[in-house]
Symmetry: C2
Subunit: 145 residues, 2 copies
């Protein structure tokens, strides 16, 4: 099983993610919580640049896969993301993603038999007060190696 330390170490291998300072705060089978710090990601008008928000919304797709699926047999790719920016972000952002046990099993079963299976969710990015500043509909695919 993928540990929190493994997850952060993997993120640090994606130079783009490492430069943002994004962190994994919690990781379990079917659950991840991540934080994007404001500090290195402000733009010229003092809000968090949209690309940092996209990155925070996208990364859970891989981490949930790593914590939930058998990575020796499958790997994830991102197929599409629809992201909507609802209000300016002026501090750290947090996201939590959950994938139910029944869904984990159904996705892996389909990938095992068909070679691939789509999965995804609605992802909310919240500020420290819990306000949603952006939301995205994420679509990934689990593929058989």
């Amino acid at each position: 099983m993928f540990s929190l330390e493994n997850a952060q170490s993997l993120l640090n291998q994606i130079a783009f993610a490492a430069r943002c300072g994004v962190t994994v705060e919690a990781l379990e089978r079917g659950y991840v919580r991540m934080r994007m710090p404001f500090g290195p990601n402000g733009n010229h008008i003092g809000t968090m640049y949209a690309g940092a928000q996209f990155t925070l919304a996208e990364l859970p797709g891989g981490l949930i896969a790593l914590s939930s699926f058998d990575m020796s047999r499958f790997f994830p790719i991102v197929k599409a993301m629809n992201i909507e920016f609802k209000r300016p972000a002026s501090g750290d952002l947090i996201t939590e993603v959950r994938l139910a046990e029944a869904d984990i099993q159904a996705i892996e079963a389909q990938a095992r038999s068909a070679g691939k299976a789509d999965y995804g969710w609605l992802c909310e990015l919240k500020d420290e007060s819990g306000e949603v500043v952006a939301q995205s509909q994420n679509l990934y695919q689990l593929r058989r190696r």
Copy 2:
């Protein structure tokens, strides 16, 4: 009028964009061409991380605004982006965006009278051979200061 040098200097003020090494190769009223280098943006499986592709697709929205609208009276925000990843990117990516003169005038006229006007386009990200590796539907809004 916003020059190529002004544009690159502005990008360098967005730390997130500067870290990616993205460059503005051409900028005119209603036209921008940008490049995202592969080097600093690879992921753990040797392709360009999705967040770098998003960033290349998003940035033209602001640069086209700067080169086309009166920035002393208006400013742009990004409202939404739907991005679809079509194939792995293993080298630099390039994007070109055009906004027709009639559209520039109509958007600015609406922002002047209504206080805001949406604008956007379909954005293609191409590799050096001209293959489309990702495409996005981008929605921005021009707002009166």
